[in-house]
C-alpha cells in the first residue's frame, strides 16, 4: 500500500517544495488579499450599518468569513494547473502517458501540491495579520476570530480536508478540459466566475434571495467555501454540520469519479501538439 503510494507522494512533495520557493508571489498575494479583505469588510459594514436585522449572520462572523476566505483564496479551484497547460502546449503530456502510474492519481497529486503550497504561506501571513496583529492594534471588531468552540474547531478539520480534496477534484476536471481543448485560457475564463459565485466567495450563500437557497446549498461548489467556513464559526453545527460534511464528501467522490471517467476517454484519443 505504502509502496504503491510512494510515486504519488514524491510527485506531491516535489511540487509542494518547488512552489514554496516563490516567496515574492506569496507576499504579493498576501498584500492583495489584505487590500480586498479590507474592501469587502467595509462593504459588509456599510450594509450592516443600514439594516443589520436583515443579515443572516452577525457582522463579526461576516468579518471572520472574509478573512478566512482571503487566507485560503489560493486553495480555491480558480484555474487549471499551469504545469498541465504547459505540458499540453509543448506536447509533454505524451510523456505522462508513458509513466507506469495511474494518470489521474499522478496529476491529482501534483495539482494538490501546487494548491497547498500556494495557499500555505498566504494563510499563515493572513492569520498573523488579521488574527493577531489586528486585535493587538485594538481593532478587535475587525479581526479574524478563532473557531466558535471546540466542537466547531474539531469539525473544521475534516471540512478543511474535504474542501482541499474537492477543490483539487474541480481543478482536475479543468485539467482534463485543457488536455481535450489544447488550451487553458478558455476553461480558466469559465471556471473563475463559477467558483466566485457558487462557492460563496463573492457573498456567503445565505445572503442570496431565499428562493435560490435550497439549490445553492446542494450544489458542489458550496463545499469549497460556504460549508467549511460556516462550520468554523458555528453557523453549521451538530447534525447540520455532519450532513454538510457528507455533502462535501459525496461531491468530492462524484467529481473524482467523473474526472477519472473523463480522463480515460480523453487519454484514449489524445490529440497532441508541439514537438
Amino acid at each position: 500500500m505504502l509502496v504503491a503510494a510512494r510515486p504519488y507522494l514524491a510527485a506531491f512533495s516535489a511540487r509542494f517544495q518547488l512552489m514554496l520557493q516563490y516567496r515574492m508571489a506569496a507576499l504579493a498575494g498576501f498584500a492583495t488579499q489584505c487590500w480586498w479583505g479590507g474592501i469587502r469588510i467595509m462593504v459588509f459594514a456599510a450594509f450592516y450599518g443600514a439594516n443589520a436585522a436583515a443579515a443572516p449572520i452577525s457582522l463579526a462572523d461576516a468579518v471572520t468569513y472574509v478573512w478566512l476566505g482571503q487566507a485560503l483564496l489560493a486553495l480555491l479551484p480558480w484555474l487549471a494547473d499551469p504545469e498541465i497547460g504547459q505540458a499540453v502546449r509543448t506536447g509533454g503530456v505524451g510523456y505522462d502517458r508513458l509513466r507506469p502510474l495511474d494518470a489521474y492519481g499522478y496529476w491529482y497529486a501534483r495539482t494538490l501540491g501546487w494548491m497547498l503550497a500556494r495557499a500555505a504561506p498566504r494563510a499563515v501571513l493572513m492569520l498573523l495579520a488579521a488574527g493577531i496583529v489586528l486585535p493587538l492594534a485594538g481593532l478587535e471588531a475587525w479581526a479574524w476570530r478563532p473557531p466558535s468552540g471546540l466542537a466547531a474547531a474539531l469539525l473544521f478539520a475534516p471540512a478543511f480536508a474535504l474542501m482541499t480534496a474537492l477543490a483539487t477534484a474541480v481543478v482536475m476536471l479543468a485539467n482534463i478540459v485543457v488536455a481535450a481543448s489544447l488550451n487553458e485560457r478558455g476553461v480558466n475564463a469559465v471556471l473563475t466566475p463559477l467558483v466566485i459565485v457558487f462557492s460563496g466567495s463573492l457573498l456567503p450563500l445565505n445572503f442570496y434571495p431565499p428562493a435560490l437557497q435550497p439549490w445553492l446549498h446542494l450544489q458542489p461548489f458550496a463545499g469549497l467555501v460556504d460549508i467549511p467556513f460556516r462550520i468554523y464559526f458555528g453557523n453549521l453545527a451538530g447534525d447540520a454540520a455532519l450532513q454538510s460534511l457528507a455533502l462535501q464528501a459525496g461531491w468530492t467522490l462524484a467529481l473524482v469519479g467523473l474526472g477519472r471517467f473523463a480522463m480515460e476517454r480523453v487519454m484514449r484519443r489524445l490529440e497532441m501538439q508541439g514537438g
Binding site: 443600514a50 481543448s181 478558455g186 475564463a189 466566475p193
Partner: protein
C-alpha cells in the same frame, strides 16, 4: 503599408489564430460575459436583502 492596414492584418491574424481553438475561444467569450455580470449579481443580492444604504 500604412499603420491602419497593418493593424487590420494583426487583427485578422489574431482572430484566425483564436479560431484554431474553437472550444477555448467559446469558453473565453462566455467566461468574460459571466465575469462581468457577477459583479451585478453581488450588488443585486446585497441590495435585495438589505434595502437602501444611507439613501
Amino acid at each position: 503599408m500604412n499603420a491602419l492596414a497593418l493593424y487590420g492584418r494583426y487583427l485578422s491574424a489574431s482572430l484566425r489564430g483564436q479560431a484554431q481553438y474553437p472550444t477555448a475561444t467559446l469558453m473565453l467569450a462566455v467566461g468574460h460575459c459571466a465575469a462581468t455580470s457577477i459583479e451585478i449579481l453581488g450588488v443585486y443580492a446585497l441590495f435585495h436583502r438589505f434595502g437602501a444604504v444611507g439613501g
